[in-house]
Symmetry: C2
Subunit: 238 residues, 2 copies
Amino acid sequence: MNLHDLKSVCGSCTIRELCLPAGLSDEEVHLLDQHMEHRQVVSKGDYLYRVGDPFRSLFAISSGFFKTVLLHEDGRGQITGFQMMGELLGLEAIHSDHHVCDAVALEDSAVCTIPFDQFEQLGQVMVNLQHRFNKNLSREIVREHNVMMLLGSMRSEERLANFLIDLANRHAHRHQSSVEMTLRMTREDIGSYLGLKLETVSRLLSRFHDEGLLEVRGRRVKILDRNALALRRTEAQH
Amino acid sequence: MNLHDLKSVCGSCTIRELCLPAGLSDEEVHLLDQHMEHRQVVSKGDYLYRVGDPFRSLFAISSGFFKTVLLHEDGRGQITGFQMMGELLGLEAIHSDHHVCDAVALEDSAVCTIPFDQFEQLGQVMVNLQHRFNKNLSREIVREHNVMMLLGSMRSEERLANFLIDLANRHAHRHQSSVEMTLRMTREDIGSYLGLKLETVSRLLSRFHDEGLLEVRGRRVKILDRNALALRRTEAQH
DNA sequence: CATCGGGTTTGACCTGTGTCATTGTACCCT
DNA sequence: AGGGTACAATGACACAGGTCAAACCCGATG
């Protein structure tokens, strides 16, 4: 194995611990690597997969940003999540062997691919991998529980505050600034995810801006008063 | 092994194919059985587990009906799902080794219990079990996607119509009447799940009743015009 | 059988968010 | 540089669903 090989695999990937290989030993990571296809480019606007596509592989986001969209017969669509570096795409497809939502790159991105049948075989020999994967699936369930809470019982302001803080946390986790961020999605995307209309999202951002919680210039957002923003996530204050 | 033993295990369980053992061979089911504790009673109103409880076991509902409730600091709660015979409880806890919601029996129920560490070991030796379990987790993710769609982009009438049809389908799947059902939950529970207030749920039920779609008497609901009800799930008609 | 209490229904009114329409802004392309 | 095409901000108004309050129903309990 030469230097080039080393650089291209999970073992030397900077986000290794955020991603599928998290918690695996070097040998295990190496074994996993053998089955993966690394760093395939997905350009901004491209679909990684679409509803109805047969499910073959899981995708780990190596860099970039995606949204997953569920579409309803009557044209309405719902964004079910935004995914960033280190997160997995395709988990929803395991159940029916077909993708049930669209995955769209919101900026130029790269993904690593692993055929799911091979992945399951690896799970048989690597307890650790299987265990971590179970946790991964469970985490996704928990994440969605929280979105249900947000959509089912929070008011618009609370929803947006939660959204922004969550985004900031995920940036921080990736050693990116959690203060200044550039949103990868449109106001309409945010609205779809939060169960609001884009006008409402826009008005709320302006409000937060006017109140000195944020500085908003188009898609650049700077969090000026994180504590105050965090308070807005809940009804308590006024 | 005597007759009583036989009756108490998955192999002879009437809902075997709806439950954890679905798709397993007789030997596999037998092996699984060894590790399970069968048919523990949970009385109406009892908590199967609560937020913060350490996660040890998965629960398969052998009979009865549950709700899972996510609670927010400020007292608000969100019902994340209603579970019936054959469905699994506890999946959300795998991620953090602690339960993150409450599970409450809405009628006298019984569950079968399997320690999760033993379950994972079984998964190592039974490809099939692991494969099915992955699908199970994925199905839960898909289910929650659909709830997100419902909460994020549907109007109250559509939400309730979806809820009723979904409930009817699940009854049918269990060979129970999908026409006459008795709701196990209060109007408030339904409202919480659907992101509506109980008054709204009540009014909608009355409306469907007046329009001849349903016959509603307290918690007894009879679906009179399934097609018309199904149409209400979407915006198209008027 | 009467009482009690949680759950349900219904009404009148209010408000947060959606809708529709206009204008503003920024970036891409030639 | 200019001009076109998204995306975004803002205002005026409408309405679905929330809120508050009252009455009702019905099964459990003594």
